[in-house]
């Protein structure tokens, strides 16, 4: 029973990180049908932005207090959001009417440019966050969760709820949903499509950046390739949930986290990625629309 609960908690915790990154994937795909493969690297940039601020401002911010960390989280989100915006403007917007494949290739190019750009700036060796959380933990029916993990999960849930409210309740959220259905009609209806797409990139990238800072603070080690695997996992989560669907991305992330957790417990930890990406293939072949995805009607 404790073991079962521990596996659930592990899965939820990992799923929270996948979710933050998967949201950006899904939003961008939903609105311009682009698989932004540089998205995982935005997560990495968030981690490095947080690292830089913590190292430079460690004294001024009073070491690694929670308040300082939250402030840094917000600044890093603004930074990565802006970067996502720039990336869209520079690499994707000029290609919006180009064939889908060209944009995909640009995205891969952008991914490498970001990775090795950071490698040039910070060197290829890993950096370590100058904060550390203690090992203090709470026991829930024998399963163990550290306070840091609990805090990270709360932040992730908070961000997800905020996003859901924004998309569902506000004017610009409504514009975003409209564009995902029919960008041309939106243009004719007087919606500034470019603006909304930029905003989508900003928000998606900010969420990934937040995930990066949290991963840096929790795991401690960051390096320039850290976004690669999590980017692929987030993509898998988005596909499982139904790519383009925002709640689906979160659901997919949680499902993937739990699948990995139970799958590795069952098969052994070396099977973790085989299991995760095996599910990607399974979903793409059996249910390409994912758990919550809508049936795509054939467009003429």
């Amino acid at each position: 029973m404790e073991y079962f609960l521990q596996l659930v908690l592990n899965g939820l915790f990992v799923g929270a990180f996948y979710g933050l990154v998967a949201l950006g994937y899904s939003m961008v795909y939903g609105i311009i049908k682009l698989l932004n493969f540089a998205h995982g690297d935005i997560y990495m940039l968030g981690a490095f932005a947080g690292y830089t601020m913590l190292t430079i401002g460690a004294g001024a911010l009073g070491g690694g207090s929670l308040v300082a960390l939250v402030v840094i989280l917000i600044i890093a989100m603004i930074l990565t959001g802006t970067l996502g915006l720039v990336l869209e403007r520079v690499a994707y917007r000029p290609l919006r009417s180009a064939p889908r494949l060209s944009v995909l290739i640009t995205a891969v190019g952008a991914s490498f440019a970001l990775e090795y750009g950071i490698a040039v700036l910070y060197g290829p060796n890993p950096r370590v966050y100058p904060v550390g959380f203690g090992n203090a933990a709470i026991e829930i029916f024998g399963a163990r969760l550290t306070w840091a993990q609990l805090f990270m999960m709360l932040v992730a849930v908070l961000l997800m709820v905020a996003l859901d409210t924004w998309v569902g309740r506000t004017r610009s959220g409504r514009a975003m949903r409209a564009i995902s259905q029919d960008p041309k009609a939106c243009l004719l209806m007087g919606i500034n499509v470019d603006n909304v797409i930029s905003r989508t990139f900003f928000i998606g990238s900010a969420l990934a950046g937040a995930g990066g800072v949290m991963a840096g603070a929790y795991y401690g080690k960051i390096d320039f390739l850290m976004g690669f695997i999590i980017g692929l996992k987030a993509f898998t989560a988005a596909v499982i949930g139904g790519i383009g669907n925002i709640r689906g991305a979160v659901l997919g992330a949680v499902v993937l986290g739990l699948l990995e957790s139970f799958g590795t417990a069952w098969l052994g930890s070396e099977w973790r990625d085989v299991f995760a990406f095996g599910f990607l293939i399974l979903f793409l072949t059996v249910r390409p629309t994912g758990l919550l995805g809508e049936r795509v009607t054939e467009r003429v």
């Binding site: 073991y3 090992n135 795991y219 080690k221 850290m226 930890s269 070396e270």
Partner: protein
Amino acid sequence: MTAWPSGGEISMMRTTRVGAVAAAAGAVLALTSCGGGGITGDSGSGGGDTGDIVLGMVTPLSGSSAAIGPYMKNGAQLAVNEANEAGGVIGRQVKLVAEDGACDPKTAAAAAAKLVTAGTNVSVGGYCSSATLPTLSIFGKANIPMIIPAANSNDLLKDQHKNVFLLNGTGAQQAQAALDFMKKSGAKAIALVDDNTSYSKDITTRTAEDAKGDSALKVVSRESVTAGESDYSAAVTAILRANPDFVYWTGYYQEGGLLIKQLRAAGYKGDVMVADGSVDKQLITIAGKDNAQGVFATMTQTPQTIPGGDAWIAKYKKAFNADPGPYSTQSYDAVRVAVEAIKNAGSTDGTKVITALQAIDGFPIFSGKLKFTPEHTLSEGGFDILVVKGDGFVLNK
């Protein structure tokens, strides 16, 4: 003490997605270049039969591992000087010729060909395993014995070149050293964790095999994690469920640091030990200083950790006005072993020297008494147990 990755790991450690492709391409190029007749000249006894005895050394003097080259070269030179002061060997003086291998297969292959042309009698170099690999057949074709001081990948032994002898401990020996220490520290239930790379998995597999027939301890859990990821909760939960009192990690320091951190966060209180790829100060930084205290490590010997190494260090300092580093002692020993074998063979003929090397029994070197196994590896010694104390690794006493 700082950490130095042993020769076998350095190439793997720096490998990234792109690097792997480049390295593979490099290896292929190097292989084709030697297959295409890169070496001309006779394939007889290598060097001349009169004049100075030439000891050739391929070692990185440039590139990513450039720091290691001088340590090896000086260590070897020290032994050469001593041999010459004692009147040389079989009436001839000994000369060391070092060539830059740059830890790169292509450069190393070219350097080896150059050394063959220069009339090398015995090769005493080899640091990066990947760069040493293409030199095996080049020296082999010229029938030149190789005493390799640093490179220790099992790949070097795969083709069973009869001219290749390893002076550094191999994965099998590291596994044995680890197991001995586990038994000594009273471990009952051990968990083995690797990162799925051949170097790392080799050690866990051998440790598990060695432990099989042992009644004192049992391998209760074997896990593999993916390098490059951050979350190892799956492995950690599985390890904790098996309830071990000793965890042995055989991968590199980045994942090792994370694993130690997450094991401690999950409430693991038992011992942790890491293999030589993880002996780096960064391991302590990543794991967190508190979490890393008391973590053990199996590590190849450095002059600073060898008992009685102080006098040798003083001698080295006097000769080169610099501190010795990793593989200084092994290079020193490689030359001494070469000289001993030539003396016993009474000739520099490759075949006779190889026979003499195989026959060496009990020759004292830093890691113990030298006797080569039928596979041409050390039959004893080679690994120390270190422990994390404060900010660094110190010899466990």
